[in-house]
Symmetry: C2
Subunit: 330 residues, 2 copies
Amino acid sequence: MKNKQIVLAKRPRGVVEEDDFRIVETEVPALADGQVLTRVHYLSLDPYMRGRMEESKSYAAPQALGEVMIGGTVAEVIESKNARFSPGDFVVGMAGWQQYQVSDGAGLRKIDVSVIPPSAYLGSVGMPGVTAWYGLTQIGRPQSGETVVVTAAAGAVGSVVGQLAKLRGCRAVGVAGGKAKCQLVMDEFGFDACVDYKSESFKDDFRAATPKGVDVVFENVGGAVFDASLARMNAFGRIALCGVIAGYSGQSIAMQNVRSLLVNRVLLQGFIVAEHMEFWPQALAELSQRVAAKRIRYRETVAQGLENAPRAFIGLLEGKNVGKQLVKLV
Amino acid sequence: MKNKQIVLAKRPRGVVEEDDFRIVETEVPALADGQVLTRVHYLSLDPYMRGRMEESKSYAAPQALGEVMIGGTVAEVIESKNARFSPGDFVVGMAGWQQYQVSDGAGLRKIDVSVIPPSAYLGSVGMPGVTAWYGLTQIGRPQSGETVVVTAAAGAVGSVVGQLAKLRGCRAVGVAGGKAKCQLVMDEFGFDACVDYKSESFKDDFRAATPKGVDVVFENVGGAVFDASLARMNAFGRIALCGVIAGYSGQSIAMQNVRSLLVNRVLLQGFIVAEHMEFWPQALAELSQRVAAKRIRYRETVAQGLENAPRAFIGLLEGKNVGKQLVKLV
């Protein structure tokens, strides 16, 4: 049986391009005892992958050249020599950008797809959802009545942050690119306001959307929008620093409001949700309950076919997706 | 009796100038019951005063125009109708930029000048010392063997930070302006290394001085030097953000390493020591013991006469002082 895979062909110079990737075809090996063969249904595309493509020091080892691109997946067990798994089981894992994976089952977690659809386990009820939950509740610690600002608010993480903030009695203010995304953030995800960072009136709009200043920032983007948030911080504000897309391509960022961190005695904490596994059960319990009850809604942008993963990933970095960016393989 | 005072004449536009201040002369009023008259011996000049000169939102109300500039002082009681104070007592207070103060004694703390000289109560055994102690021990939380970077290392706060770090078994790396200051930081204050930020080879020198990266940053300056520290942060680094002199005059700062805050899961906390009064007794106990035992050394730059306070303050902002900047009035 043939297995199509996408490997990292070379490291990007600045902007990611399609020929940084290469598609290869390998044979699926026969199963040894204890192993399980899964077929990937959905591949998750996430901004952190951009960091892995760099050779420079990061929180994880860089993605090796010539190896299958890493990534979260939902897959179906199609053959098993492992007592824990049976054909037909759905599992979340890290199979990466490929059609099939043979593993010893160590990184696989069985999921119940009877109430919540499989793809949601890569979004609101998966790593992005837990990221939102952890950063908001453990770093942001919002109090009822406070103002929570979320960048990339239409994205997989941001949309959950705002909905969790609303459920805690906060004013949720999103920042997103373009009118359509902002409308979605307000209408579908229930934010109180959403500001278009592409608009010429962004600074004024942002000020108008945060009449009582900003208590909590959940930062997914960095750059000029982050700087604007700093200018609106209230005393003792908290910043959960989750992503810095704006800095990925190496450009320097002109910051005017670094002083606000001092003046307002701000706490800023960079974090990676994978280092806080002890919170996952609590987070997933709330998230799955809220999603099942439709108190947390989500959107997905789904590319079709493995060969379209590079293009979809580049689109994600450019903000072309709405909600969770997935690639559907089956 | 005449009292010379310096008042804020106008708010600075960018760089502080001498004519932002004005000297005035008033009559010292007669004492009412419960009041005490003090004569200022030493006036403390501190970077935070620059922030107070602005009208913009800050952690404290702006310094009012036409009123005596605020500032910490060591003064001698020369007349008292308050049972707590007798002529000859030395007190630390906030008399501001003037020769005499009449007060009800509420803000005055008696000090023992028999072992530690009066001026030290404005430096190592005063607000700057406690600032160093709080930021290092409560935010930086350095472990033995870690590398602690301190900017403005020859200053009143920075010099204490490095010495406290050394006493805790850390590698103390200072950043200061000019060879002479760097030599002082190493020879007099015992830092392991000190890097001259004015040198063309600053980035290389900084890298060489931090061979194991940076675990704790005590930041007094901001700007390009802060950015350089970010580039060297180790995972789970801590940044005590104490001062941002570099941003005071409104220029924007080109930051290249904001992403490091995320990649290294850095904790950054802005703080103002006056909001943590509960730590002062513990901090002053260690500081006064260390200073008396000469385990913490200090330097002072002393301007003579109240009328020279504005020039000395401008020099402080330009980094012309070494150690604690004082004005001696008596």
